[in-house]
Symmetry: C2
Subunit: 771 residues, 2 copies
């Protein structure tokens, strides 16, 4: 489809590439303000405790200490750090500081001092008298009768179920699954567990705050959600929203964790109290412990098929560990079902049940994949078992059951995709092409047919099928402002948040496409709550689809204005002219340049500023799809799993910038391979993270990774900008199930817990009598 | 009229007042960038010379010198520094550097070095071999046969008449003045001369330039015309406009002189050549000599009246000294007629002739009053003579002749006010009220009737009547962008240029009025070519009238959007609701807050960014009017004139902010008193300014000034925002003629040359046998 475009579909360089590659001071931490106060965190050493007394006097008296903040001198308002739409679906269960701590790493106090060193030194002078409470350090412990109640404070909104440590619960039923399973020829049931994992952005959370010349508070911060952040900080500090400006400079990675308001409330308070700039940057260890994590899940999946290999019933029961606070608990829980079950819409009987459970462990949050990753593992391994039971190739089982164009799933309506009563109809679906292209590139038939290895290193192949969404319908919103210059160039102002993904570039390409200019003619600026229009932020794979559509709309409005001016200049009709190559061309070939058009609009007749602002709120969340293929080698003597080859064939609609789209998938697959094989939080018996650093928490390096081959399958989403859907998250869902299925193919052993570390694999092989 | 408004008509504090009064670093010179190169100017010591050879080697070799710019290594493109609309009416007679210098102070070279001191030191190492040419150091010398030709280079556009040193010429005739004068019972003819004068802004010209992180050129500069400046610098440096960003921070006074592009081209070139920030700030002495001045004029006025005291014919012949370059030559010349003659539209026979003459003297430019000031002096003193000849009170003569509501003047159409063939009709004119209110407050009748003093100090009173414009019709353009926040506040982004006048505040008041909120709810930002919409800039008394109208329009569009959202919330019609006090109120009294409205627009149904951009290009330039009254005391022994009392009664339509409007008039009157009494450039025989500093160029201090009583007369201009016209310039036109007429009333001596210094007055008194 992309041959009809000039700029879209081209692998343009990043518009911010020069600044990034030349090491310009473009990140939040690079801001160098005089008289800055540096902040340091006193984190709880206990998993669960009440603060009987806190004596900050010693710290406060240390020369160079400006302020010590504790629960005794800070606002006590309850809020959520989740950075979601308003009203937030996450419970208001957090305070800036509280008299109770709920996990090892919870905020106890923050010191603001003249230097980072002084601030850290002062921490040791804060005397805290804790009443240590029994802690719930696992799902089972939190759910057991008589378990410690983690949020025993009042829940005014009745959102969470304090006595049972439940942060959220869900039950969605379509049809009658128990009866349906009785009608199946094959039923498989499996329970899987997933681990705590880290986003590990290169740049940890960092915020700098200061008062501008007019006394307004500026937050210069590494965030995915500038406008949500502005609203939340305003509420916590009881400031009018317009007294706050949030600037999002370049970001060194987000992956969901920068959707959270973790530093900004405290920085803001320090600046408001002292009048001085404040700077707070998480250390890598704090990023692991005190920021957010991927929610661990325990998920039971039951799938049943009839004789023809068509699914008849699916049950999914998900228990989510949300840690000490319920940020994103409901929505990640919900997405575990809504980003997996619609894929197999041939099954008429469905049930999704879910509970989100508080524990005295680190806090879950938004993380690329957002429940879809966790639930894909049990569902796609269950289907692998089912295929075997039915004697079908796993690809063939998917072929018989996947959703297709013109179809819907009851889950879309039941779990909140689309307007009430109007289920989303899939308008673009290239799953068959993804399966075919992926199989062929991977050599699936040949590799699958290989006899099982018997030596110490055993190769095997596995596959899985995936979907994600493109933004959150009726909640996400993007907007764009375009302003024309008298050289025929344009300023594109967007509230959307480029986290390093290249979204600024993609949005510029969409504008350039409509306006018939090269990308260089578009000066892209994001994001700054003073200048850029409201945008819900970068999450839920929304930027290309949602903000991209807003950019397209704004550009179309500007195009119309240009046509009007040019038609007068060319003495023809506005509808008759064409934009292209920086010109407006009449049917007879005469043309004017865009520079001439804008110069006329500035200085000639009918003077006006050519420009427009447009918004987009999606009514649907068209899923991208992906067929994932992995080849592994399992060393049965050591338990080590190596991924030898990986193919991801993705239907993301029109790839606006193919190279960057491929990069998104490559990064997500690498991220998913780490999640599948090596990454996990290890805890002491007291609930303290044992490996809160990059030397002991193992993310894959380039050399640990296989070739990751990305195939962008041609499709066109009619509701998307230039036919685009999304691509940022889906790639991460593939590795865990594809690799688990490949390990089974290699060894005959099923793994039900991520990550597949050598120790865990070795034990499973031993239990199966292998190696 | 202003009692129908809530915020408009209120003397709100300046929105930037806190930053200004607390000394925040808000001016262009306050920017403190590392690795900045400092620039220093080598100015011509000769009034007219060719540069035979320039050896910059010694300077360039001085350690710490980065760059020496001369005509040998800089772009040779011709341009105008005038910063006017496009295409500029001023001739393209300037170059960045030229091989010929045309006045003492003309650019010869600029050094960029590590410190200001080094840069100045390096200047002395530049060896220039001049071929000194004969110079034309007065109007007569430049107009004499065989005069040195100042611009002997080609004039491709044929704009200027090189052999005759003419930069511009005009001849506008209505009716038959020679025949008409023959029909008059009284005819007066007078020729007056006005002097070179200085704007003397507190902040001299200052520009800082740097490359941003994306390699774009940023000009952070004290300018009245950010968008014109961007266009002009782009052209000189052959850069695309979108590679340049012009930021106008707070400005320490402009008065027209910051309409000129004087430093920015060189700063930009230094930054582009070196990659480093550059800083150039005129010294006070350079500001006097190398910046711009008020064009001196010699003007002959002939007025004739019939028996009834109604004017029958007016002739004005103006010769303007534009100095070495023709910036604003045509337009200031034209305004000498168009901002004075329409005032007396009872005269059916009019002729205006004008010539702008190049001399080897400092360069004229835009200066508050802009020709109107210079021409008011001869016209209003001529009318004083005519009143005496007719035996009429000067006020009565004006009453019989001034323009009124519903009337027009042929001058409006002939001299470019309004669309061709559509003469402007005056829609608001409170001249009678200004005359009455001014007379009464001043005590005119009583003071005028006093017998002439005979002692050494003689008191007298004089008056004059004035008009100015409100922007330039069909040339000026303003635009405004408004963006709503979810606390019910608004961002107002304007390209208009607050020079310290308070226009940001006034524009905020207009938005607040429409949107029914307090001024605090409007966050005003101006101006930045990246973010604020196109605006031609602050000149010609345009900001309130032109940009104010754009703000009103944008606010009305936003109001409509608010009504639409609120009507749904209140279950009523959009047309039925009212905005006020930060709420939207239904007919039955139910209401929602603006915060609720925007929160719904952000997060609820029909999500969109409430906001709008609107432009305004005025079709008319409705004149403000002013009656001016001065009382003086003339010491006939010393020639010293003291102003004892001053009343300015002004019709500016609705004063949006009365205190600031009064401040504008007070400042302009003070400026005009300096122009009338003390301020003038003194020259050596070689054409060098002898008093280029504030100790020898005498601007009045507070203690030198009389009480200046400003009366804002109630009127309402239907084409203006909330009924407003303009007020920035008109005040300066009054003092010279009112004081001259008062001196005559006191002494019987007419002065025909400004300023009325003690020496000049003493000589005139002696010639008249007085003292």
């Amino acid at each position: 489809m992309s041959d009809k475009f000039e700029v879209v579909g081209t692998s343009e360089r990043k518009v911010d590439g020069l600044a990034l590659i030349t090491g310009r001071p473009v990140f939040a931490g690079d801001l160098d303000l005089p008289h800055t106060l540096h902040l340091a965190l006193l984190a709880s050493p206990h998993a669960h405790a009440r603060i009987r007394r806190i004596d900050a006097g010693g710290a406060a008296r240390l020369p160079g200490v400006a302020l010590v903040l504790t629960h005794e001198n800070t606002p006590s308002l309850r809020f959520t750090t989740a950075g979601q739409g308003y009203p937030e679906p996450s419970p208001y269960d957090a305070r800036m500081f509280d008299s109770k701590v709920r996990f090892v790493g919870d905020r106890v106090a923050v010191v603001a001092a003249e230097s980072p060193r002084l601030a850290r030194e002062a921490l040791s002078l804060i005397a805290v008298d804790y009443e240590v409470l029994p802690a719930a350090l696992s799902l089972d412990a939190a759910l057991a009768p008589g378990a410690p109640v983690i949020h025993d404070e009042a829940d005014a909104e009745g959102i969470w179920d304090a006595p049972h440590n439940l942060a959220a619960a869900l039950d969605v039923a379509v049809g009658d699954t128990p009866a349906a399973f009785a009608e199946c020829v094959a039923v498989v049931e499996t329970t899987c567990e997933t681990q705590y994992a880290q986003h590990a952005p290169l740049e940890t959370h960092v915020c700098q705050s200061y008062l501008d010349d007019n006394g307004r508070l500026v937050l210069y911060t590494s965030t995915q959600v500038p406008f949500h952040l502005r609203r939340i900080v305003a509420r916590i500090l009881d400031l009018p929203i317009h007294r706050i400006r949030v600037v999002k400079p370049r970001i060194g990675g987000g992956f969901g964790v920068k959707q959270e308001v973790l530093l900004e409330d405290v920085c803001a308070l320090v600046t408001m109290r002292t009048g001085r700039p404040a700077r707070w940057e998480y250390t890598r260890s704090e990023e692991f412990v005190s920021a957010r994590t991927r929610h661990p899940f325990r998920i039971r999946v039951k799938v049943g098929a009839r004789e023809d290999g068509v699914l008849h019933a699916i049950e999914m029961d998900a228990i989510q560990n949300t840690g000490a606070y319920g940020t994103h608990s409901l929505t990640v829980l919900s997405n575990a079902g809504s980003k997996t079950l619609p894929l197999y819409n041939k099954a008429p009987h469905l049930r999704f049940t879910g509970r989100s459970v508080y524990t005295n462990l680190p806090v879950g949050g938004a993380y690329r994949g957002y429940g879809g990753t966790q639930a894909s593992f049990p569902l796609e391994t269950a289907l692998d078992r089912l295929a075997e039971r039915l004697g079908l190739d796993p690809v063939e089982l998917r072929r018989r059951n996947h959703i297709g164009s013109g179809e819907t799933s009851p889950i879309f309506a039941e779990m909140g995709e689309g307007r009430e009563g109007v289920p989303m109809i899939i308008k673009s679906c290239a799953i068959p092409e993804c399966l075919n292209a992926g199989m062929e590139a991977f050599g699936w038939a040949h590799k699958r047919a290989r006899p099982r290895d018997t030596g110490p290193v055993r190769r095997g192949v596995g596959m899985s099928l995936h979907m994600q969404g493109s933004g959150i319908p009726l909640i996400d919103m993007g907007a764009a402002t375009i302003k024309m210059n008298d050289d025929g160039s344009f300023h594109l102002l967007i509230g959307a948040t480029d986290l390093g993904t290249g979204s600024d570039t993609i949005l510029g390409q969409i504008a350039a496409e409509v306006l018939g200019v090269r990308l260089e003619q578009i000066v892209v600026y994001s994001s700054d709550t003073d200048f850029t229009p409201f945008d819900t932020g970068a999450y839920a794979s929304s930027t290309t689809y949602v903000t991209g559509k807003a950019v397209e709309r704004a550009a179309r409005e500007v195009e119309e204005q240009i046509r009007r001016v040019a038609a007068v200049m060319l003495q023809t009709e506005a509808g008759a002219v064409q934009l292209g190559d920086g010109r407006v061309i009449a049917p007879d070939g005469r043309s004017v340049t865009l520079a001439e058009v804008c110069t006329r609009a500035y200085y000639g007749a009918d003077q006006f500023q050519i420009g427009a602002t447009a918004s987009c709120v999606p009514e649907e969340s068209p899923p991208p799809f992906m067929a994932s293929f992995a080849e592994v080698a399992v060393d049965v003597e050591t338990g080590q799993v190596r991924v030898l080859d990986y193919v991801a064939a993705v239907d993301c609609g029109t790839p606006i910038n193919p190279r960057m789209a491929e990069g998104q998938v490559e990064g997500a697959v690498a991220n998913g391979i780490g999640y599948a094989l090596t990454e996990e939080y290890l805890f002491t018996p007291g609930g303290k993270v044992r490996n809160a650093d990059l030397s002991r928490y193992k993310i894959p390096r380039t050399l640990d990774l296989p070739p990751i081959r990305v195939i962008l399958v041609d499709s066109y989403e009619p509701t998307g900008p230039m036919g685009a859907k999304s691509i940022a998250e889906i790639g991460i869902n593939g590795p865990a199930p594809s690799i688990a299925n490949a390990i089974y193919h290699a060894t005959g052993v099923r793994l039900a817990r991520t990550p597949f570390t050598p120790e865990r694999v070795w034990r499973a092989l031993r239990e199966a009598g292998i190696g």
